[in-house]
């Protein structure tokens, strides 16, 4: 039978303390800690020698080693001589191994604790720097785009096709679901209010204008930010980790043209189409709810919808969605290219791409709404 590790103290003389280790010194149960010795020494300050002795030590593993390294560290700080007797030879060689390379005490990681004010300052500086990065990225993307217009940009047509496919046809199911439901929700909420005035037929106007002018673009934008923007960031981030982007750069191929441009182009082309499709789905969703209201039938709903819409609504909606496409692509690619060189950095890049894209979409919506308001369209 073996019991857990035990530590016995024997004051063999005035300045020598003997420690006797016995039992099972394994990591599994509560082992005596070096603190006990420290406490003991606190009571006997004149001790300057410690003799360690193993007596009936059944088994040991890292539990014993941790105790001994702690003890050794303490002793060397307090200039106490530490001697071992009967210790298993394995223990001695492991201790020697652990002490072979001195602990790295370079300035590098020892940044120390940062106070709140320093942290705030750093964050602020980082924020302004990231604004600068954003502008730089947008600038480079613009240069790449102008090269594209002059037919000089270098990218693979087959990449463009693949990306077009992944951000159009493959996004249709989720866009269908979301826009149909948003149309229904709008109709429900608006319908309840309008019914109070007996004006429920205007549900058609409400749904049509809201969807076509704004909601379809925003909803597809947000769906694509989560679906495609995050994927772009993860793809480019992984390429960064694998040094694939470095390999492009040393070949003199601009990652902007080769990677960012096709993604931007694909989303800017496909988002308006998706938004157009979302318009139809949203209106259908609204119609489903509208027809369940008293006094509205499909023909009436259809006529009211057509009458309420004009080309301005459609144009503004489609324009917004193209802008959102560029925003989602830029956010995704920027975060991907800025990605650090580790797996967790890729995850962070994907997350922050989605956040950046959604913030960008909402900001852009606000700006577009204010401008169209001022123009009175």
């Amino acid at each position: 039978m073996s019991m857990t590790g035990e530590l016995l103290f024997e004051q063999s003389s005035k300045d020598t303390l003997r420690l006797i280790l016995s039992g099972r010194w394994k990591l599994e149960k509560d082992l005596p800690a070096a603190d006990e010795v420290v406490r003991k020494l606190g009571d006997a300050p004149e001790v300057c020698n410690i003799d360690l002795e193993a007596r009936g030590l059944d088994a040991w593993d890292s539990g014993l080693l941790v105790f001994l390294t702690d003890l050794r560290k303490f002793c060397s700080e307090k200039k106490i001589r530490l001697k071992g007797k009967n210790l298993p030879s394995g223990v001695l060689s492991m201790l020697k191994l652990a002490a072979a390379v001195p602990e790295k005490k370079d300035a590098r990681k020892a940044e120390g604790r940062v106070t709140f004010l320093i942290d705030l300052g750093n964050q602020t500086v980082d924020f302004f720097r990231s604004c600068g990065d954003l502008l730089e990225f947008v600038g480079e993307a613009t240069v790449a785009f102008s090269k594209l217009l002059r037919g000089k940009a270098q990218y693979r047509r087959s990449d463009l096709w693949l990306i077009l496919e992944s951000c159009s046809a493959q996004a249709v199911p989720i866009v269908t679901l979301i826009s149909f439901l948003v149309g229904m929700i709008l109709a429900f909420i608006g319908g309840i209010q309008l019914q109070m005035f007996g004006a429920q037929i205007y549900v058609a106007d409400l749904v049509a204008i809201a969807m076509v002018r704004l909601m379809a673009a925003i909803m597809t934008g947000i769906v694509m930010a989560g679906r495609t923007g995050g994927a772009f960031a993860a793809q480019l981030g992984t390429m960064q980790v694998n040094q694939e982007i470095d390999a492009l750069k040393t070949l003199g191929i601009s990652p902007m043209e080769f990677l960012v441009l096709p993604r931007m182009l694909a989303l800017a082309l496909m988002m308006p189409l998706l938004a157009l499709y979302a318009n139809i789905m949203g209106i259908l969703g609204g119609a489903l709810v509208g027809m369940s209201m008293p006094g509205i039938n499909l023909i009436q709903y259809y006529n009211q919808t057509v009458a309420s819409l004009n080309l301005w609504h459609l144009g503004i909606g489609l324009f917004s969605s193209a802008v959102f496409g560029v925003i989602v692509a830029l956010a995704g690619c920027m975060r991907g290219i800025q990605c650090g060189r580790s797996a967790s950095a890729v995850g962070e890049a994907a997350t922050s791409a989605v956040v950046t894209a959604i913030v960008g979409i909402i900001l852009a919506t606000a700006i577009i709404t204010i401008i169209t308001n001022m123009l009175g369209v």
């Binding site: 390429m239 390999a247 750069k249 040393t250 070949l251």
Partner: protein, 260 residues
């Protein structure tokens, strides 16, 4: 072989002068001065984390030095305009530590991209060149494989094939044999030596594999992490015979002599 190399007139291809490399305020290495001659197999050696890869990113134009200069022939690489820098580095091929093959493209497409970009070859000719380069690294028949479908050693070799695609004047290798089994590592070393001998390409090899260092290198620089600077330059075999520096001895002998 070494004697033959020494007969070639010393003709500096790359000169590194007073170079300091740093990440922000963290100085990795400072006061670096060395010369890489044309046709050399030049080894950048040192323990892990001493800054070998960082050195390479500076030499290939991915990261600017904190201080000092790098000359390619007579051109100050980091002071010149980006256009010239791109032109210089286009004559270099780089094999990255992780292979860095473009994962969305097949091996053939990986090798074809530089050719399509910088030559006027017809698609048929490009296909022939790609086949030749792949067969040079022993990967004939793998044209249509994606990088994820081949083993790590094959990826490294494909990385070399891509680096050689444009018949560069300088080839950079970052830890070519790391993570390979001894036989593959040996084959890679042979490949590097053969390429250097038959094409006269300057080779810059970052490594800490002793076997490679002694068999392929004919010039080298040793980066000492604890001193944060270089402590030796020269033929690694001679360094081994002559050095008195304990850190370098320890490195070149795997620490075996020090314990004796």
């Amino acid at each position: 072989m070494i004697a033959a190399k020494e007969n070639i007139k010393e003709d500096a291809h790359i000169i590194v002068k007073d170079l300091t490399m740093a990440y922000g305020s963290f100085v990795v290495m400072q006061d670096l001065n060395f010369k890489i001659n044309r046709g050399d197999v030049f080894i950048i050696m040192g323990g892990s984390g001493c800054g070998k890869s960082t050195m390479m990113t500076i030499l290939i134009g991915l990261k600017s030095p904190a201080k000092g200069q790098v000359f390619y022939d007579d051109v100050d690489f980091w002071m010149t305009d980006e256009e010239t820098r791109n032109r210089i580095i286009r004559r270099a091929g780089v094999m990255y530590q992780s292979g860095a093959l473009w994962s969305s493209m097949t091996l053939e497409e990986n090798l074809a991209l530089p050719l399509e970009t910088y030559t006027d070859l017809r698609p048929g000719q490009i296909h022939e060149v790609v086949k030749l380069k792949l067969s040079l690294v022993g990967l004939a028949g793998f044209e249509d494989f994606y990088p994820s479908e081949i083993s790590g050693g094959m990826q490294k070799r494909a990385g070399i094939a891509r680096a050689m695609a444009l018949d560069p004047e300088i080839l950079f290798f970052d830890e070519p044999s790391a993570g390979l089994d001894p036989v593959s590592a040996r084959r890679l070393d042979d490949l590097i030596v053969q390429l250097s001998e038959s094409l006269g390409t300057t080779m810059v090899v970052v490594t800490h594999e002793l076997a490679s260092i002694f068999t392929i290198g004919n010039n080298s620089v040793f980066l000492d992490a604890s001193k944060r600077t270089m402590t030796a330059i020269g033929d690694p075999n001679k360094l081994l015979a002559e050095t008195k520096d304990p850190a370098l001895r320890l490195f070149l002998t795997r620490g075996e002599e020090s314990s004796g």
